[in-house]
Amino acid sequence: MRWLRFAIGLLIALTLHSLLDSFYPNALAFFNPYVILVVYYSMGGNILGAIVAGVLAGFVQDAFSNAPFGLHAFSLTVCAYVVASINARLALRGSLAFGACLGGAVIVNELVIYVLVNILMKQKIEMFEQALLVKTIFTLLFGMLVYQLLTVFLREEPIEATRNKAVW
């Protein structure tokens, strides 16, 4: 069931990616649906599952962008690991905790990409700070909306829906 939910979430993220790319090509510079998906699944505190989720979501994002293959997989895996590690120890609940984790994850994601692009491609990203701020705000707003909707429609705490008591 967890994998089914993740697969559906991944398809929705890719659909959103395609939709924005097709009709609003500038929108993805300000918003990242894959981070929301990965953070949502990492909030369960299952570290192994979070790593797998980060890698899969990142591969899909990489396949449909011109980034070096593995760049987004790397950054999303780091985000997933950090969020899952925190939640494995503290079991954060509620939309506020989700928002804090999501905001942090967007920042970590962008910083990791910034560093990797500098190391691997010897390139400097223009207007990094401004883009980071805008991306964090918009991803946070959309992520909170998604979280509230899922909580209402699934009638359960989304974190519980993805938590695994033993192993992934």
């Binding site: 890719l14 395609s18 993805l28 570290i47 790593i51 011109n66 070096p68």
Partner: protein, 286 residues
């Protein structure tokens, strides 16, 4: 609230480090081989193939939804008319819109066709289904793939000028690296003076023309074309116009070129099936 320790997997950190290491190796290989096209990983092609129905469906559904939306707007406009007149007006408006759209399509396609006939190479037409023009890595995805004869390093252009080159193909899709991408470089020449240089993307809306000596004659408005010296891009495709020339710090000028193509509005494209450099030459290229 603390979680019981048996919930936490035993060695997640080790797995995390291993996964990151593997991803770093994959990424390094990908970034090292992206310039010679064909060596892109099979893995990337497989992931793209598996998920390719999603963007294709979204493109189809989006087009259908837009059609429905336009139909609805046309109907709304006719509500205030009397019934007979409304029918007539709705019919004429719809017909008029369709004809105008057809006329505009015909003009665009004719200019594309005329443009395509300039080349000795085989060409085919395609349609964009994804535009990633604002991100760091600028690319588009078109609805033609290896089944349609599209190969890596084929050139993509439209009536306005050069768009980029194909960097990855699946059976029914192809990924095109835009000329504005940081990693794209094109051998080029200035039409008026025939001065040759290299156009490189800088990740922004414009591109830079490099290797132009500081004493060279170059003015804003000069048209920049492909030079046909890089083994990939055929000669004579418009790249853009010089908008700014600055005296660089060294022996060369800093030249900014505005691309001829408005990348946010690309619809139909021409894929030019160029003659490829033999693989053995690519392999030994510096």
């Amino acid at each position: 609230m603390a979680v019981p320790t048996d919930v936490i997997p035993r060695r997640p950190t080790l797995l995390f480090i291993v996964v990151l290491s593997l991803l770093f190796v994959l990424m390094s290989l990908s970034s090292r081989t992206r310039y010679i096209g064909e060596t892109r990983t099979m893995f990337e092609r497989t992931v793209m193939t598996v998920f390719s129905p999603v963007p294709k469906f979204v493109n189809w559904a989006g087009g259908a939804a837009q059609d429905m939306h336009h139909g609805y707007l046309d109907m709304r406009a006719a509500v205030n008319e009397n019934v007979d007149l409304r029918r007539k007006v709705a019919s004429l408006t719809t017909e008029n819109l369709r004809l105008r759209q057809t006329g505009s399509d015909m003009r665009r396609l004719r200019s594309l066709l005329a443009y395509a006939e300039q080349f000795d190479f085989e060409t085919s037409m395609g349609q964009t289904i994804m535009l990633d023009t604002a991100g760091r890595f600028k690319s588009i995805i078109i609805d033609r793939g290896s089944d349609d004869g599209v190969q890596v390093n084929d050139i993509v252009a439209n009536a306005s000028g050069l768009i980029g080159r194909v960097v990855l193909t699946t059976k029914d899709l192809a990924k095109v690296q835009l000329v504005t991408d940081n990693n794209c470089a094109v051998g080029s020449l200035v039409e008026r003076t025939r001065r040759q240089g290299v156009v490189r993307g800088n990740g922004g809306a414009n591109v830079q023309l490099y290797d132009i000596p500081s004493l060279a004659d170059l003015q804003p408005g000069d048209r920049v074309l492909t030079a046909g010296i890089d083994g990939i891009f055929p000669k004579g495709i418009p790249i853009g116009n010089v908008v700014r020339t600055d005296q660089g710090q060294g022996l060369f000028k800093t030249v900014t070129v505005k691309p001829a193509v408005d990348f946010g509005t690309i619809e139909e494209v021409i894929v030019i099936h160029t003659r490829k450099i033999p693989q053995q030459v690519v392999r030994y290229a510096p």
